[in-house]
Symmetry: D2
Subunit: 346 residues, 4 copies
């Protein structure tokens, strides 16, 4: 039984880790860390967990934690994990960081976009970017996982095969993304109040959203050249779900079947990436509560562009689910253990 500690267990991503791990047959949560709710019962913070766990929230002393558990998930604000992690911790336990601290290899880029100083740049190189379908082999050996961001996961998986196969012009990529509100976290802010979000949609962080360099870095690896994109996130009045609509110019004329084959080449054996049938547009509701990413595409011969679409649950494949998938890979378990979650509809 893998012993698990969670730092930041009382945020939405932390709570989703708890939801998934409580049903995981090979892991057991030993430590519910929280800054705001120390000494409070976890099930009083998240009443859905009543009678499912009787544990008390503890503080977040990573050194003590490292001595007691096999793996630590950090579901914390940017900068915290980087300030906590050290060689001693990594020598005793594995760390899966759900924040952005170790996702970007170039520390200057990180510091520019996140406006904070990186406290442990020496571990950036070692950290493995935990996009399981792409970096599975590296994940197996990793001590420190940079769990991908929600937008980057959905964006990258929607575009990757076409970029890898050189079918699209990297300089033309535009990503228009839409997210449910849980992505904004459980902090009490006016902008996230029910009455501000409900019956409303808006773009935000236009041209400056922090997930931009993360997406660009991964796309650059795939394209084997430097990729600069437009990325525009929108806030949608729903709890969960991310939908990505991405645009790019085709490098040559292609048929539906040719493109479908390219997607299948990369995803046919991937349990958690579903390439939908022709003309079926991904919907966030069809993946809610599950670890799936649904992708599809449409060729527009009038403009010689291709529209790539992807849908997933931002808290599962976009956060906690992928984190558990990484844990499964790191510990040699069945990769889908605990993640055989059937999407809930309606």
């Amino acid at each position: 039984m893998i012993k698990v500690g969670i730092i930041g267990s009382t945020g939405y991503a932390g709570a989703e880790l708890v939801r998934i791990l409580l049903a995981h047959r090979e892991a057991e949560i030993k430590w519910y860390g929280s800054r705001s709710y120390i000494d409070k019962k976890y099930a009083e913070v998240y009443q859905n967990m009543f009678q499912l766990t009787d544990e008390i929230c503890k503080g977040e002393d990573i050194n003590q934690l490292a001595a007691e558990v096999d793996v630590i998930f950090t579901a914390t604000p940017q900068g915290l994990c980087a300030s906590l992690v050290n060689e001693d911790v990594l020598s005793k336990t594995k760390v899966i960081d759900l924040s952005a601290d170790f996702r970007i290899k170039d520390v200057k880029t990180y510091e520019e976009w996140y406006k904070i100083e990186h406290k442990s740049p020496k571990f950036i190189e070692e950290a493995v970017y935990g996009l399981c379908e792409i970096n599975r082999d590296k994940v197996k050996e990793a001590r420190l996982i940079a769990n991908p961001g929600c937008y980057p996961t959905c964006s990258f998986l929607s575009i990757y095969p076409l970029l890898k196969e050189r079918l699209i012009d990297p300089s033309t990529i535009i990503i228009d993304a839409k997210s449910g509100t849980s992505g904004a976290g459980r902090g009490a802010k006016v902008d996230n109040l029910y009455c501000e979000v409900n019956e409303n949609i808006k773009a935000y962080g236009v041209a400056v959203h922090r997930h931009t360099p993360e997406i660009e870095e991964q796309l650059s690896y795939a394209a084997d050249e430097n990729v600069i994109i437009n990325f525009t996130p929108h806030l949608v009045p729903m709890n969960r779900g991310i939908l990505v609509t991405a645009y790019a110019s085709l490098k040559k004329s292609v048929t539906y079947s040719e493109v479908k084959m390219v997607y299948d080449k990369y995803y046919a054996d991937e349990k958690f990436v579903r390439v939908l049938n022709k003309d079926v547009c991904p919907q966030t509701k069809w993946v809610e509560g599950s670890n799936y990413v649904d992708v599809n595409f449409k060729i527009d011969s009038r403009t010689n562009r291709i529209i790539m679409m992807g849908a997933m649950d931002n808290l599962v494949k976009g956060a906690a689910g992928q984190a558990v998938q990484n844990m499964n890979i790191m510990f040699g378990l069945n990769e889908s253990e605990g993640l055989e979650l059937v999407p809930m509809f309606p």
Copy 2:
């Protein structure tokens, strides 16, 4: 492996049966019945099931079905199950009816409230009302289960202990219930369009809702006298969830602890009924996607009344979940097999 057939698998309750049974380790769906989608892939009707089932929707010939499966779930409009069931079917297979056809023992009451003729009254007596926590022993032996309605399940479980223990005056019971929209089914009606339901709340079926006699019958058994109630359902802009707020006059002065003990007496050992801590009001979101019913109460000494509250997911404990719970009991399985669903929040 129990072989399962579903008649009405393409309605919302049917789809929830599929969601639950696909993860059930001892049952396998052999027959996806549907009137509207025969020969269509089930995963094209419910795209969330893409790659999870490759089955085709079939017709609803109950005799053929009875020869092939161990248990038939009927998730169909009122009257259909009663018109299909016969001795031959029941001698070959078990039937769990999610409609109201066999819930009410008095056929005249059924016909008055439902405005249809009952086509097989001879099986009413035999049918067991499948409120698992109350009728577990009878369920074990049953061939035909009348799976309880959503409102009745939540209403009854919220009130039952106090009525059984004679703490409340049965003639004063008022039930004010609120339901998500999935309870109205997947039929295309103007009243259930997004724009009609969203940003709106209304009462409906006031003083004439068909679940009234079902609730009254079960309360009458508990009270051992004839109980007549007011029951008012409301339509709430959400997909899932039922909340019951019930009122009754206390027969004598009681303390919080005394009432708590009464609830615990009946539910302490019931996995799927959670008696919440003092002053915690049930919320539908805390049980979403799970088979739990959360109940609690508040004594109002000013009016000498008690307010009883209950929350559950109308599609799980209020329909498909309880149906599977009944199946588990009938086949001697672990009662919670397939139902260890952690509530999803947010």
Copy 3:
């Protein structure tokens, strides 16, 4: 042109005052008071007002305000208006208080339920409870209006005719109310975050909600005896709207027509109270954005109870609209000036 000052103009009720008064032909807002946004443009706090007002938020010095305007609206937390008002202010200007400070005549009751000391009890007697349809004549002469609470307005108007005409037993009244989330205000609290409210319904303040004594006091005047009730509010995932479902036992057997005549007796000439046709249940969406209260009833001969229903927009008739209606009456204007708002659907 009436000069208006608003203390608390940046809360939701304050913003609704602004929305209504900007289209009012006989009033002009001279002072946008705010504690949190002093010196900020009002249209930057509420971007919907962009180009509709260019005013800057000012502080809340009531003495200065009194010298400059004809009427002050206070849309502020409980206790503030009572701490500001004084004889000098009232001698110069009229005050319409949207908080609860002057609604309850018995100061001890106020202090018990609100847990705060009343800072100017000497004005309580003078204050007129501004339920326009009931107290129109007194409002005309008033200097200080206690603008009714949202729940009390909807509850009282739904029940009033039957109580006044002695058709129902006051000791049996139970009010089950449902409100949209704007009633909770614009304060940044976890409980009011989108993800906490959406797809959820709960009761709150069970048996202890502060609107209880306010409703009771008004019902007692109507019944000419002391009335004690049960009042249970619920939080509904929508922005606006209150629905009241009230129950009471009938004192004698009555027909639909008899009860309808009683409602018509009191409301036929009231523009803002609409008695719906037989069997039409009020829906909050049908009054959204308007000053209407829609009421109706259903007799249940099985239980000898009557179910009374009312729907209104909590921010209009339940707050800002009624406040403007009071202003119109106080200044001898057409009572519906600025309030001819057609409900918005969908």
Copy 4:
């Protein structure tokens, strides 16, 4: 007093015409046309209109109508207006068509995208495309107005100044649009049920949506060259509102101020187009219920693209509001009569 007839008054756009015209001081609805609800009271179809209109729904005999009213609004499915209109009607009355029948000058393009035969192509040339801010002078003289589509209105107004001033490359325009559900109409379809739309977002009509050629035609006029675009609409879980996020490559390096001046050049004197302040992203909620379009932009120097954004209420400026604005212009009234609607928030 202008006499108004509405064909299709019981759809959502028709109902919005009623909402606006009931408060219009120079127009009066004389004819509530409806196919589905003939002889039913209008206020029974739209209960929000109870006591606001007592009229009965009539049939849709356009010749009779033409004899009785000064202007006819047709808020009907594609093809109907084209099949009804004739020289006799146009000689007696003005027609404002909210459908697409007369929006596209090339009849073949219309027939290809709409898959129906055009029944009166001879009036296409005469019809004026009623985008008031652009074609005001032509509208004044028109007998037949093609009221613009919702997506085209918001898309075009967001892009127009930059295209007109040759700041962007027309071949790079990509429009990613998001709409509330009222745009889908009041027809009873499974896809528009509450439970299908709520907690969900999807793209639809990808690369084939019928508003594409309408947008392209108008953009082509502005650019003075043939413009081909990508247009992708999305369905958002909200009743009202359209948000457009459009992308294009800049033809030369520009500053914020330069672009702002271009927007101001075209819109500074336009009451219903609000160019927001720097870095304020349009939100649909800020224009709800009003005739405003809020636009803004963001320059991304990294990619040399500009992101143009627009938000409006699809039923007001995107349908009924603009139709009334056209009527006002045609009849020489104040252009904003009946349209001084303050946006409702929250």
